[in-house]
């Protein structure tokens, strides 16, 4: 508690959001790492989420936007798979001769070493790949890329939704995640514009807000979230955030070494505008391509200084008033 005094709890460095939310002895912060480079766009995450959380079906609309008929996150969609069709060159395939697959299959360290060697040996080719310009096919077409990415609530380190909630319906869990308490939410909707990602949303039928809980009930029983469990290719990985960040750094390095120059992490940086996301991503292109804000900032970042300024202003006002009364009083006496 003492450590909290004098700190801005709404922005800046926050290594222990659960601890600072009153959980003394708490489990490690848990989160999602969504590696979009292995996403097959199957939408198992969307369905597994809805089945587990009994989220209602929300409309049969063919959008004409590739295979995305979900359109975005909402009160009734807590996982959303985006589909982006691009015409651009693909990197050259790496050379993997010399990989001992049996050692790998057996899980031997040799195998992983071989794998590491392999990614090094692939590096020169990767440069070749990067040098490739768009090679049109005889009929003038270029090579295709179909990006797929499963979006979800980011469970921000600094979650504005939670900051602005006047009823305490939104709260930080012992796992560091951000969850709506459906029994508390009164549907005021303050959180909706507060979210820098546009995630949280009101359900029209009852006005309350709903979003990903990172399957808070499952976590409590030692289970992983439904979407991560279902994901056929492990594109959605669940675990302690620190571990996920390490794994993600390794993966992005591996992809870049293999010529995937656009590979980057999104939301993993504790120094970003929301103090890092509890659910972060490996993307193959700019965040905007996937419909993600490039530089999100917690909308309550400036709240403390605003309060300070307000307090100052109020103080000044009061001081002025007091002074005015004092002067007036003196006059009367005088």
């Amino acid at each position: 508690m003492s450590s909290l005094i004098g700190r801005n709890l709404l922005a800046g460095a926050e290594p222990d959001p659960a601890g600072d939310a009153g959980y003394g002895d708490h489990p490690p912060r848990m989160g999602f790492f969504t590696d979009t480079s292995v996403c097959i766009g199957c939408k198992a995450c969307e369905v597994a989420c809805k089945e587990w959380n009994a989220v209602p079906e929300d409309g049969l609309e063919l959008t004409g936007m590739s295979y995305d008929n979900t359109q975005g996150l909402s009160a009734d969609t807590w996982r959303h798979v985006a589909f982006v069709e691009q015409t651009r060159p693909l990197p050259a395939a790496p050379d993997h001769s010399g990989v001992d697959v049996f050692a790998l299959a057996a899980g031997e360290p040799d195998g992983s070493a071989a794998g590491a060697r392999d990614s090094h040996s692939a590096a020169p080719q990767a440069q070749q790949g990067a040098d490739l310009t768009v090679v049109p096919s005889p009929d003038g077409r270029t090579e295709l890329r179909w990006l797929m990415s499963s979006d979800v609530c980011k469970h921000c380190t600094h979650a504005a939704c939670l900051d602005v909630c006047p009823t305490g319906a939104l709260f930080r869990t012992e796992f560091g995640t951000v969850v709506v308490q459906e029994d508390v939410c009164n549907g005021c909707g303050y959180c909706v514009p507060a979210c820098p990602y546009g995630v949280i949303d009101q359900r029209p039928s009852d006005g309350r807000v709903f979003k990903c809980t990172l399957c808070y009930d499952r976590l409590g029983d030692g289970m992983e979230p439904a979407c991560a469990k279902a994901c056929p290719t492990d594109s959605i990985q669940f675990g302690p955030l620190e571990e996920l960040r390490e794994r993600a750094a390794g993966r992005v390095a591996q992809l870049q070494a293999a010529g995937e120059s656009g590979a980057r992490l999104y939301g993993e940086d504790p120094d970003d505008g929301v103090g890092g996301d509890g659910a972060f991503f490996l993307l193959l292109d700019e965040p905007e391509v996937y419909g993600l804000p490039p530089d999100p900032v917690v909308t309550t970042r400036d709240l403390p200084s605003m309060w300070r300024h307000a307090a100052l202003a109020a103080g000044g006002l009061l001081g002025g008033l007091a002074a005015a009364f004092a002067v007036f009083g003196t006059d009367r006496k005088g």
Partner: protein, 1086 residues
């Protein structure tokens, strides 16, 4: 609650007193939040199950609370799925517990306009009445003087979504009743697989298993949209890719599979044989074959008879063609010095020949006649130098010589650079140190030359030495939970359990002459009599004795094809009057959906068993023909019974996954209302029929009365014991003990076995299919998870993973090898070989059956122990694959300009089934575009298990078509707008997706546009749309009677389709403009 507690519970108190000064964490928790528990944690029990959708066979945990299923999710212990599920698997809770399921029996009387309610018992009695009456009225003792012992008045369709035990009882009961038209989805999905893989390698199943994909150095996915149709299996492709494998996707469309592949090669639908043939030509012309493997393990050196003539000699056809009848006499395709029988495919073709020779052989004159298959001295008929002009290797070289990169470009529209990249990848990733795996699905099977598609891949993989080795093989991805099982224990007209052929009608046919004609001399098909007699004992029990030929005469006889498509014609012709649909929806899902419905409209009675009111149950009141006025509900005399079916969570039984693995699912809850398992329905139907016929002296009733039909029943619903059925399938020895291997089967009637290849699944009285040792507690092969046929072998033909001396080809690819000290084969899997047969063993010349297998014969089901590059028997359309255009194609065959289509394709020139002009034929331009049909991840086959699920429906809510921007511009199509797709058979409307993922190709000298159509929709359900099968025709592969729906032609125009009679006028106009007559597209030659 005390005041103190009340105060302490107050969030403000907690905020002020605890470590959460801002009240955004611990202090804000409500009592409900504090009490949250996962419903899985509070469930009363967890029941082990298997996903009911595709054939990957993902394991499921079914959580039950208060007698209700509350959650279904993946079982992490499974070595195949590792706890993961695709969107369909994730929606099984909604499938099984959702409001879309019906739980009451419904009845539509003849000419009735609406459903009525019936109680289950009355309905079942009525069905018994109808079965007996129709059977009596339509019974045939003889056809053309030959005994057939059957009825064509009743047919059944469905089984791939059912359990093995259910398929077993259906086939057994209907065979006992003399019903031969027993079919299921396996016919329309993967029948060409059985013929293609079976004739090449000896068994008609995928040669490998999904987890082995991780060992591949190169994976070629062609004819399959792996990531979309089998998402959870695709994790093993991703594993391989993570380990450095090159992943190639060859497909007309850029799909979600292509998105994850290293290389996507767009191909014109219907041209894969030319592409694969080009790869074969590359391997042969560059000498890149794995020569030691090819010499030892294939029939490359075998010399073919002098009379054989290739398509290169005869302008596009093989020797033996009857140009009038449109079929081949395959006699000239045989090896020099004797005929061999195929291990699969069509085995009756040479019946008379073989029966005659076998009679001669019994008299001791076989050598004089030069017959007897592989009994003939192989060395005398082979040339290990591979130089003899008539050896298979040289025949292959000549046959494929014109499949050049230029020809590949001309036929397939594939650029030479892309083709070269595939060639190089294949060759670089094959040989002793490396392996390549091919993966396909119905993109290869559903063609008029489907079996030959598979054969082409078999030849290529044999030449590259990739069969029987880790990371190699041919992975056939099947698409229903038990469609492999419904082939193994076939609800198929032409097969008996374990791929024993159904007998055709022949003069003086008895058990011995039947077995002699269809068995092989060498290898394990040489023991066919033991398998057959044991099956007859399982079918007819005590009644089957040596004295009565084990009731072989009870079996109904075939006279030609009785596939589901012939059945439809029989319905239209009034021959077939009663129809069971058991979990299949032909009114939407089978080719030429209109003919399916019109056939049903001619029936006396129809029984539909399903979850919901699918199109096949309601066509009489709301089908497309009602809208057009072609049918009037009041005029339709068909009586319709709807019986609600039990879900996989409501019954016990086994599914066989795509890799021959039987996995048991256990009952979680009892089915509600009138819903019952198909095991229950079939058992009680049979029981009641047998009770009705008790005491009958009619000869036709002897078979059904003799049928062994004693199964223990359990529980409140008198559910027959599925385990008892599985035990019968497994078989019993003379002492009544459970058999443990098919090698124990005898041909003297002392053993019984309902399906010889499943023998061992109940070894030691233990349900081996229910084994669930977690994959984390065993090696990657996971042999102790469930049970795979044959003999729990996971990787078939694995003898070939070792060199002729029995040593691994390389350490990297070691799998099964000869342990000289132990005198046994050993390794990571159950050896697919005689366990103690040394590599050096050579059989004596008079040896037969398994005894005749040498130590270097890895293909133990084959008549010569070898992989067949050239198939001298088993296929009716040629010993080698050759490129023919699809029945309807915009391209004139560039390879054989004088032979556009397969000369022996199976056609039905009838009303409603008109074919298109092709290539340069006049009128072809009316249908200028190629249509290909497919599945999406979010839906399942004809939609019966997904269109009613809101969570799946919202993901792909409407029927759509995919077109290129170029085609959209050419035809004025707008993204998200409407288009109408038209063929001579039908017109459908679909929303338009304009996408670069559909690329126009140049083939046959002009630009070819392709249109993609998912085929999941129909007019019923939560998500509705037109069915793609309104467009398709019935044009079949003559080997297996599978329909060509992967490549057809059509026109496309903007806007929605006309309604009512105007729709018929539109179609008539198109046919007129294209000059279509009943003869269009039906030529044999030309």
């Amino acid at each position: 609650m005390g005041v103190r507690t009340w105060i302490q519970d107050w969030p403000v108190y907690r905020q002020l007193s605890g470590g959460d000064p801002l009240g955004r964490g611990a202090a804000a928790r409500s009592r409900t939040t504090d009490g949250l528990r996962a419903r899985t944690a509070t469930a009363d029990k967890v029941v082990k199950s298997i996903c009911p959708y595709c054939a990957v066979g993902c394991a499921q945990d079914v959580y039950v609370k208060d007698g209700k299923v509350v959650q279904i999710e993946g079982d992490p212990d499974s070595p195949v799925s590792r706890g993961r599920l695709c969107p369909k698997g994730s929606a099984t809770l909604q499938l099984t517990t959702g409001s879309a399921r019906r739980h009451e029996v419904l009845y539509r009387p003849p000419y009735g306009t609406d459903w009525e309610r019936l109680d289950l018992d009355t309905a079942l009695e009525m069905v018994v009445d109808r079965v007996l009456a129709t059977r009596r009225e339509t019974w045939q003792d003889e056809v053309d003087g030959l005994r057939v012992n059957r009825t064509l008045g009743i047919a059944s369709l469905g089984g791939a979504t059912l359990d093995n035990e259910e398929n077993y009882l259906i086939k057994k009961l209907l065979t006992g009743l003399g019903i031969v038209q027993v079919e299921n989805q396996a016919r329309v999905c993967h029948s060409s697989t059985v013929a293609g893989l079976g004739t090449s390698f000896g068994r008609g199943g995928a040669t490998t298993f999904l987890q082995d994909l991780q060992n591949s150095d190169c994976i070629v996915i062609e004819g399959s949209n792996f990531a979309e149709a089998h998402p959870v299996g695709f994790q093993w492709v991703m594993e391989a890719k993570a380990r450095g494998a090159k992943v190639i996707h060859v497909d007309p469309r850029f799909t979600r599979t292509s998105a994850l592949a290293d290389l996507h090669v767009p191909i014109r639908a219907g041209s894969d044989i030319a592409f694969l043939g080009g790869l074969i030509n590359h391997v042969l012309s560059t000498g890149s074959d794995f020569r030691e493997y090819v010499l030892a393990y294939t029939n490359a050196a075998t010399i073919v008879g002098e009379d054989f003539r290739d398509t290169e000699d005869l302008d596009g056809v093989f020797s033996g063609l009857d140009p009038d009848g449109g079929h081949y006499d395959p006699l000239s395709w045989q090896y020099e010095g004797g005929d061999v029988q195929a291990a699969s495919g069509e085995r009756d073709t040479l019946y008379e020949e073989r029966a005659r020779n076998s009679a001669v052989s019994a008299a001791g004159h076989s050598e004089a006649h030069g017959s007897g298959g592989a009994r003939a001295d192989r060395t005398a008929n082979s040339d290990p130098t591979l130089e003899h002009p008539r050896c298979v290797y040289q025949i292959l070289k000549r046959h494929f010589a014109r499949y050049t990169p230029e020809m590949v470009q001309e036929v397939c529209g594939i650029a030479p650079e892309a083709f070269r990249e595939v060639c190089e990848a294949l060759v670089a990733n094959s040989g002793p140190e490396r392996t390549t795996e091919f993966v396909y699905a119905v993109g290869w099977t559903q063609h008029s030359v489907g079996a030959q598609y598979i054969r082409t891949a078999c030849i290529l993989q044999l030449l590259l030495g990739n069969i029987g080795r880790p990371g190699g093989g041919i992975q056939a991805l099947r698409g229903h939970a038990s469609i492999q099982g419904s082939s193994d224990i076939p609800t198929l007209f032409n097969l008996l359990p374990g791929y024993l052929p159904m007998p055709h009608a022949h003069a003086h046919e008895d058990l011995d002459s039947f077995v002699d004609a269809v068995k092989t001399e060498k290898g394990f098909w040489g023991n066919m009599r033991a398998y057959m007699v044991s099956l007859l004992k399982a079918y007819y029990g005590q009644a089957a004795t040596a004295g009565n030929d084990f009731c072989f005469g009870h079996l109904p006889r075939l006279t030609g094809s009785h596939s589901t498509y012939e059945t439809v014609l029989a319905q239209l012709d009034g021959v077939c009057k009663g129809y069971f649909l058991m979990g299949e929806n032909p009114a939407v899902g089978s080719a030429n959906a209109k003919m399916q419905r019109l056939g049903m409209a001619k029936l006396d009675w129809l029984v539909v068993r399903d979850f919901s009111l699918i199109e096949s149950a309601t066509w009489w009141k709301d089908g497309p023909e009602i809208e057009t006025g072609e049918l009037r509900t009041e005029d339709i005399g068909t009586e319709v019974f709807f019986f609600p079916a039990a879900a996989h969570t409501e019954k016990s039984g086994s599914f066989t996954n795509t890799n021959r693995m039987l996995q048991w699912h256990h009952t979680a809850v009892e089915p509600a209302g009138d819903a019952r398992s198909d095991l229950w329905f079939t058992y009680h139907l049979g029981r009641r029929i047998k009770e009705r016929l008790a005491g009958s002296t009619e000869p036709r009733d002897r078979a059904i009365l003799d049928l062994a039909w004693d199964y223990p029943v359990e529980g409140p619903l008198a559910e027959p014991s599925a385990e008892a059925v599985l035990a019968e399938i497994n078989g019993y020895g003379p002492d009544g003990a459970h058999l443990s291997a098919y090698t124990e089967l005898k041909d003297d009637g002392s053993t019984s076995c309902g399906c010889w290849i499943y023998c061992g699944v109940y070894a030691d009285g233990v349900n081996q299919a229910a084994r669930r040792k977690p994959h984390t507690e065993q090696d990657w092969v996971a042999a102790e998870w469930a049970w795979a046929w044959p003999a729990n072998r996971r990787l078939l033909y694995n003898r070939a993973s070792a060199d002729p001396e029995g040593r691994p080809w390389s350490e990297r690819k070691a799998y099964v090898w000869w342990d000289a000290e132990q005198g046994r084969w050993t390794g990571h899997d159950v050896p697919d070989f005689i366990p103690d047969r040394a590599p050096s063993y050579r059989p004596p010349e008079d040896a037969t059956g398994p005894d005749a297998l040498s130590g270097i014969d890895p293909f133990i089901m084959q008549a010569d122990g070898k992989g067949w590059l050239f198939a001298p028997a088993g296929l009716v359309d040629g010993p080698l694959p050759t490129h023919y255009e699809p029945q309807d194609s915009p391209v004139a065959n560039p390879l054989h300009p004088h032979q556009q289509r397969s000369p022996v394709r199976q056609l039905f020139a009838r009303d409603h089934n008109r074919y298109h002009p092709s290539g340069a034929e006049p009128g072809a331009g009316v249908f200028p575009y190629v249509v290909t049909t497919y599945r999406l991840t979010e839906h399942f086959t004809a939609g019966g298990m997904t269109r009613w699920s809101p969570y799946l429906a919202e993901l792909q809510p409407e029927m759509f078509c995919e077109v290129s921007p170029e085609l959209a511009a050419e035809r004025g199509l707008v993204n998200a707008g409407w288009a109408t797709v038209v063929t001579a058979r039908g017109a459908i409307e679909a929303r338009v997706l304009v996408t670069d993922r559909m690329a126009p190709l140049r083939a046959g000298g002009h630009t070819v546009h392709q249109i993609g159509l998912p085929y999941h929709w129909g007019p019923n359900g939560y998500s509705t749309g037109d069915a793609a099968n309104e467009l398709s025709s019935i044009a079949l592969d003559p080997n297996v009677h599978i329909q060509e729906v992967k490549a057809l032609t059509a026109d496309i125009r903007p806007g929605r389709r006309p309604r009512g009679p105007e729709l018929l006028a539109l179609l008539a106009d198109y046919r007129l403009r294209a000059g279509i007559t009943e003869r269009t597209g039906t030529e044999v030659r030309g």
